[in-house]
Structures are given as structure tokens and as C-alpha cells.
Amino acid sequence: MTFESAVFYFFSAILLGSAAMVVTIRNSVKSALFLVLAFVSAACLWMLLRAEFLAIVLVLVYVGAVMVLFLFVVMMIDVNMAVLRQGFGEYLPIGGLVAVLMVVEIALAVSPRQLGPTRIAASLVHAPPLHMSNTRALGVLLYTTYVYPFEIAAVILLVAIIAAIALTMRRRPDTKYQDPARQVEVRARDRVRLVKMPTEPKA
């Protein structure tokens, strides 16, 4: 066993273990933290494959942004996991059985005999060795060959933003808010009314 494979098995074990913990543990905050651990291990695996840009992005985006946000939400809304887990034991035997069988079947299909390194090597087009950094290569590909999917991904993000706003933002009639535009546009005569009154007759 080379050093590389030792590292690979180490992080894979952590990845699988923490992923299992994410779905089984009772405390939702801990569950989220295990997810963080899973992401980090996955990032390490990618590092091993020399995909350093992806590894860093995974840590930055998912661990740094998404999971933090997620933790905030979990803490704010106080999900009662006990209710969610009702019937877990009831469904466990059949669910577990199907899961195990599926894992076995998939494992048989993608066993090294079927999808070993030799086959991958044979089927993949050999890329010439890169003379640039991983990040730069990704960038070049993204803006040339993959520009169309890249643009669609951008559209998807925009739709997600629109959807999120449309579904959550509501203007309640009783909310009070300030409108800076109207504040700026205000004029004196709108606010102060000069009233001419007859002077009081002398007593």
C-alpha cells in the first residue's frame, strides 16, 4: 500500500463515517457539524486527485458559507428531531434491507473488475500535461468549451434568487418602513402649511 492509498482510505473512512452520523445523530447541530467534517474530508480527497481548486472551493463555499448559514437556521427554528424520527424504527428493517441490497448490487456493478483503472485509462482521452495551474485551466475551459452550460448555470442562480424573493418577501400592510426616495423628494410646502388667519380683534 502506497502512502497515497493510505491517505485515501483514511479520508474515505472519515467521509463515510461522518456521512452516516449526519443522518443518524439526534442532535441537529451536531448533525450539521458532521456534515462539515464530511465536506472537509471530501475536500482532502479532491486534493489527493490534484484538484486543488475544487477542494478549496468546497471548503470555502460549503463549509464557510452554506454550512454556517445552515447552522444559523437550525439554531433559530429549533427543529424537534424526535418528532421527525417517529417511525424510524418501524421502517428501518425494510429500508435497511433494500439499502443493503442496493449497495451490494451497485458494488458488484462498479467493482474494480468492471470499472478498474485500466478501463478508465482506456476510455478517457489522454489530456496533454498542463502547463498552467489547475485554477487557470478550469477558468479557460469554463469560458470557452463550457461557456453555454456556465451561462445556464447563471440563469439557474438568477431563477433561484427570484424564486427565493418571490416566495419569502411579503409586504405586509401594517409594516412600517422608510422610503428614502420620498424622503429626498420632500419639499417644504408638503410639510409646513402656512395658514393665514385674521388677527385677533383688539380687546
Binding site: Y91, G95, V98, L101, M102, E105, I106, L108, A109
Partner: protein, 653 residues
């Protein structure tokens, strides 16, 4: 699409358009605009047929083209296409001309009827279907038109749907026709099995190759395939053209309005069978057996139906039986390979029979829908135009020169005498005897209706007058070809090259070429009639009628009394109706009732239908419960589906 094809396509379509407009918007348009629009459509169709289609084909420009591919069933393309050759063009002219006359006549005949627009819609639809039938270039479209005219005929016989007898008659016509259609579609199916195509051109081109094809029957025997096909097709023709024993619907169809009797049940639809057999002449020429069957059936119809005409008292029924008999003549001609003579007779018959029917209709209107000959008489003083028209029609029907019927009927009799098929002698005797009977019943009708003392009630007699011009105009227009058509058409149709390749006759069998060697012009043809039997038989028939109904009007009653048994048989129409209704239909109904009580109510309804419904309902309720509404159930279903697919297809070698 070429301009020719476009124009041909327009011919049936204007009729269809007229029908649809009358049917859907008739109530909005009112009666006058409805008939104007429909008649305009038919007039266009007639004009195009007469001044475009006919001259074009006569100049040798035939057309066989597909207009539209509707779909495919297996390897079979379902197409709409037209084959326009002289035979088709001639039929188109006849159909549209008679149809136009009937349309005009209808304005007078149907005036004030609540179903006025509906009636126009139907007859225009009929014209459309008939045109599709004659213009078809494939069997499927032929069948479409065939069923189309059958349907419209059903609708029109039962036009006055509140009358019990009309409903009965329409049902009868439909059922009997179905019987024929069954044979017909089996024939078409057989053609498809042999030729793998339903296009006329393809089928006819491969007839020679299929000459020895045989159809295996259980037990090692086999039949000549083309004979089977021809007989099946002819069964279809027997239904539509009312040949014995499938003739029973035609007399009853007189329940429909008279214009319909003229158009459908005399001039056009009933000739569809004749047309079809003529169109299929390349097939029939390959099968002497089938032609022999055609000959015998036609001859029997020609003679025995004519006999029935002698004892009818309803004026329309007399003409109906005469139609049956004349159709028999045409069929005989087909059997004798004289296809051109059959078509010739078809054409002349269309004119003079439509004329006779419309004249009868004119009488019926004048008498306020009285059709009984015993309550007529002496009408010649009141209705001179109708009277003259009936004379012309009767002379043509009886076959007196130089009227149209004489030429075509004589040609048929002549042609039969040359036939050597089994049954030809019988056929010759039958058609010869038929001439006498025909002349007799025709003039019996004429004398009873127009001569003698008026026998209607006083009130009706005071109001008797000639019909309006919309009625008499078609009479006059139809009378002209009834006189002239024979003289003008005999040369091109029979002995000329009008049909060219449209009708196929094996050279050795062709009776017309043999007749042509004796033909020396119209006058000579008339001249030879004076030295041959048919003319004298016809004159004898007329004389007998005159003797019995004008000179000695008390005699018929006595004869009837003496020949009571014979008379009863004739009045009962040889008992066909009795056998069909009380025998076949009654036992079928009994069997049906038994199957209904036991099979339907108990087995099918009880066990199968309700049982199945209950079972399905139970499964449905169970399936509904599976739809619990919980996401994880749904997700599990997805995973399970995936699992099953994986297990089934992944690891099985």
C-alpha cells in the same frame, strides 16, 4: 397538385360543402338560401363533369393520381385518390345531372316540410358519396363511398322518422345492405391478400400473375382465388343493386320521399353495384364461374321481379319493381361480358327511370300524397305535362324504338344470345320473356293512372292541377335524354372506342365485337328490330295492358279470381319477406333473447362486467390508499422502483 387534379377534387368537395352548409347553417340561412347554395354547388359539379371531365377523358387524357395519404395501417397506405377515365367521367355526368334535376324538383316536392334543409343536406351528401365512389382509384375509397351512399340512403328512407313504416324500411334497407357489404369487404380483404395492394392500377396489372392463385379450404380442397374474390365482390353488388335474393329492401325503400326514390333508388345508388362490376371487369374476365353466377342471378331478377310489378297497386312500387327488373338486365349484360351494354343501359335507365319517378311524384303531389293506383284515373286531362312525360318514360322503359331504352335493352338481349356460359340459355329466355312483362306492367300503370274514369274523391278532383314549374322543368329536361340518349350514345358506347381501356373484355368472349359486325347505323338497328322478337313482345305487352285495363276493365278482377294461388304468391313477393322476417329474423331474435337472458344478464353482466368492475374498484381503492401523502413513502416507492429495475436487468448475464 396539378390543375386537373385540383378541379377533379373540387367536384365532390363542392357537393360536400353544400351539404355541410345546409346541415349546419340551414336554420340560419332559411329555406331559400339553403336550396340556392346547395343547387349552385351541384350545378358546379355537373358543369365541371360535363364540360371538363368528359371532354378531357374523351380526348384521351386519363388521370390516376393520389390526392392525399391519410395514414398507414401496417404496410397498407390509406389514400384518397382519383381515377378519371371515360367510365368514371360518364358516371359523373349521369350522377350529377340526375342529382341536379332532383335537387330542383325537391324545391317543389318538399315545400313546407319541416325537414327541408336537412333533406337538402342529405341529398348533397349523397351526391358527394356517390362521386367519391365512382371517382375512386382504390378499393378503400370505393368502400368509403359505398358505405357513404348506404348511410345516406338509410337516412333518407327513414326521412319521415315519425312513421313506423319508414323506420322499418330504413332499418331493413340498412341490414340487407350490411349483408352485401360483408361480402364486399371480405372480397376487398381477399384482394389485399392476393395483391398486397388496394390500388386499382396495381391490382389490375397483376391479375395475370394471380390467375392461378388458389384459396386453401379445410380438408385439402382449394378454390380458384379470383373466382372467390369475384363472387364476394358480386355479393356486395347484389346488396347495393338489389339482386335476388337481397332485393327485399328496394320496394320498401319507397317509404322515402319521391325525389329520393328517383335519385338513389332508381338512377344512381342502386347502379353502384353495376358500376363496380364493370370497373372490376379485368377480374371478372378471369373467372367464367363467377360470370355465370352473375348471369343467372341477373336473369332471375330481371324476370321474376318484373312479374311482381304486374300486381302492385302502389304507383311507386310498380316503378320500384321495374327498377329491380331493369337492374337484373344490367347484371345479365355484365355476366355476358357486355360491360359496355350494361353501362349503356345504366345511363339510359337513369334518365327514363328518374323521369318516371319524378312524374309519379308529380301525380302524388297533385293527389295530396295518395299513391294507390286504384284511386287515380283520368289524370291526363288535368296534368298534361306529367302525362306526356310519363308516356315518354313508359315507351323508353318498354323498349319501343326510337326511345332510349330500346337501344340498350336490345343490345343486352343480343349480347346474351352470344354468350356460351352455363346458364346462358336460361338467361336469354328470361330476358326475352321479361320484355313482354315489362311492357305490360308499365302500360298498366300508365292506363290506370291517366286513363279511364277518375276514381279519387270529389274534393281532390276539384283541386287537381298541374304541378309548379320546379317540378315540371326537371320532367322536361329528363324527357329529352330519355328520347335521344339511345340514338346518340349507341355508337360511341357500344361499338366505338369511348371506353378504351376502362373496360376489359377478353377478345374471344367479346359479344360486342360480334354485334359490331352487324351494326350499320341507328336506322338499320331500328330496322332489324322489326324482324326480331323483342319488339313484338313489347307491343304485345302494351296491347294486353290496353285490352285489360281500357277495353275490358272488368277482366283483371276475374283473372285474379281464377288464378288466385298464383296471384297470392306474387302479392307476397314469393315469400322472401316472410322467410326473412318470420324465419331468419325471428329465430335470430329468439337466439338473441336467449343469449341476452342467460349469456348477457347472468354471465357477462353478472360475473364478468359487474365482477370486473367490482374488482377494478377494489384495486382502485387500494391503489388510492397507497398514495398516502407522505414524502418518504413516495421516495421509498422511487427507490423500490429503481431497485427492481436494477435487480431485473443488471445481473442476468
Amino acid at each position: 397538385m396539378t390543375s386537373a387534379l385540383a378541379l377533379y377534387t373540387a367536384i365532390p368537395l363542392v357537393c360536400l360543402a353544400g351539404s355541410l352548409i345546409a346541415g349546419f347553417f340551414g336554420r340560419i340561412l332559411g329555406t331559400v338560401w339553403t336550396h340556392r347554395i346547395v343547387i349552385l354547388g351541384i350545378a358546379i359539379a355537373f358543369a365541371l363533369s360535363a364540360v371538363y371531365a368528359l371532354p378531357r377523358t374523351m380526348a384521351g387524357h386519363d388521370l390516376d393520381a393520389t390526392v392525399y395519404l391519410w395514414g398507414r395501417a401496417g404496410g397498407l397506405p390509406l389514400t384518397v385518390g382519383f381515377l378519371i377515365d371515360p367510365l368514371t367521367a360518364l358516371m359523373m355526368v349521369v350522377v350529377t345531372f340526375v342529382s341536379l334535376m332532383v335537387h330542383i324538383y325537391t324545391i317543389g316536392y318538399m315545400r313546407g316540410d319541416p325537414g327541408y334543409q336537412r333533406f337538402f343536406s342529405y341529398i348533397a351528401l349523397f351526391t358527394f358519396a356517390m362521386l367519391m365512389l365512382v371517382m375512386a382509384n382504390n378499393f378503400l375509397q370505393l368502400f368509403f363511398g359505398w358505405e357513404g351512399v348506404g348511410l345516406v340512403s338509410y337516412l333518407l328512407i327513414g326521412f319521415w322518422y315519425t312513421r313506423e313504416s319508414a323506420i322499418f324500411a330504413s332499418l331493413k334497407a340498412f341490414l340487407v345492405n350490411r349483408l352485401g357489404d360483408f361480402g364486399f369487404i371480405l372480397g376487398i380483404a381477399a384482394i389485399y391478400t392476393v395483391f398486397h395492394s388496394l390500388d386499382y392500377a396495381t391490382v389490375f396489372a397483376h391479375v395475370d400473375a394471380a390467375r392461378h392463385a388458389r384459396l386453401a379450404i379445410i380438408g385439402g380442397t382449394s378454390w380458384h382465388m379470383l373466382t372467390v374474390i369475384c363472387i364476394l365482390l358480386f355479393i356486395g353488388a347484389m346488396g347495393k343493386s338489389a339482386q335476388m335474393p337481397l332485393h327485399v329492401w328496394l320496394p320498401d325503400s319507397m317509404e322515402g320521399p319521391t325525389p329520393i326514390s328517383a335519385l338513389i333508388h332508381a338512377a344512381t345508388m342502386v347502379t353502384a353495384g353495376i358500376f363496380m362490376v364493370a370497373r372490376m371487369s379485368p377480374l371478372f374476365e378471369q373467372s367464367p364461374v363467377a360470370r355465370s353466377v352473375v348471369l343467372v342471378v341477373g336473369a332471375s331478377t330481371a324476370f321474376f321481379m318484373a312479374l311482381l310489378g304486374m300486381v302492385q297497386t302502389d304507383i311507386k312500387r310498380v316503378i320500384a319493381y321495374s327498377t329491380l327488373s331493369q337492374l337484373g338486365y344490367m347484371t345479365v349484360a355484365l355476366g355476358a361480358s357486355a360491360y359496355a351494354a350494361a353501362i349503356f343501359h345504366l345511363v339510359t335507365h337513369a334518365f327514363f327511370k328518374a323521369l318516371l319517378f319524378l312524374a309519379a311524384g308529380s301525380v302524388i303531389i297533385a293527389l295530396h300524397h295518395e299513391q294507390d293506383l286504384r284511386k287515380m284515373g283520368g289524370l291526363r286531362r288535368y296534368m298534361p305535362i306529367t302525362f306526356a312525360a310519363t308516356w315518354v318514360g313508359s315507351l323508353a322503359l318498354a323498349g319501343i324504338p326510337p326511345f332510349a331504352g330500346f337501344f340498350s335493352k336490345d343490345a343486352i338481349i343480343d349480347a346474351v344470345s352470344y354468350s356460351t356460359l352455363p346458364g346462358a340459355e336460361y338467361a336469354f329466355a328470361a330476358v326475352l320473356a321479361g320484355v313482354f312483362v315489362t311492357a305490360f306492367y308499365t302500360f298498366r300503370m300508365l292506363f290506370l293512372a291517366f286513363y279511364g274514369e277518375p276514381r279519387m274523391d270529389a274534393h281532390t278532383r276539384h283541386n287537381l292541377h298541374e304541378s309548379p314549374w320546379v317540378v315540371t322543368l326537371p320532367l322536361v329536361l329528363l324527357a329529352i335524354p330519355s328520347v335521344l340518349a339511345g340514338m346518340v350514345l349507341i355508337r360511341p358506347l357500344l361499338f366505338g372506342h369511348f371506353f378504351r381501356g376502362a373496360l376489359y373484355v377478353r377478345a374471344a368472349d367479346n359479344p360486342l365485337t360480334r354485334m359490331a359486325s352487324h351494326y350499320h347505323g341507328v336506322l338499320a338497328f331500328i330496322g332489324t328490330a322489326f324482324v326480331s322478337a323483342p319488339l313484338y313482345l313489347a307491343l304485345a305487352g302494351i296491347a294486353t295492358a290496353w285490352y285489360l285495363y281500357i277495353y275490358r276493365p272488368e277482366l283483371p278482377a276475374r283473372i285474379t279470381h281464377h288464378l288466385h294461388g298464383f296471384y297470392t304468391v306474387l302479392r307476397a313477393g314469393y315469400g322472401f319477406d316472410a322467410v326473412y322476417l318470420d324465419g331468419i329474423a325471428a329465430s335470430a331474435r329468439a337466439a338473441g333473447r336467449f343469449l341476452w337472458r342467460v349469456g348477457d344478464v347472468q354471465l357477462i353482466d353478472g360475473a364478468i362486467v359487474n365482477g370486473t368492475a367490482r374488482l377494478v374498484g377494489r384495486i382502485a381503492a387500494w391503489g388510492r390508499r397507497l398514495q398516502s401523502g407522505y414524502i418518504y413513502h413516495y421516495a421509498f416507492a422511487i427507490i423500490l422502483g429503481l431497485f427492481v429495475l436494477m435487480t431485473f436487468f443488471l445481473h442476468r448475464g
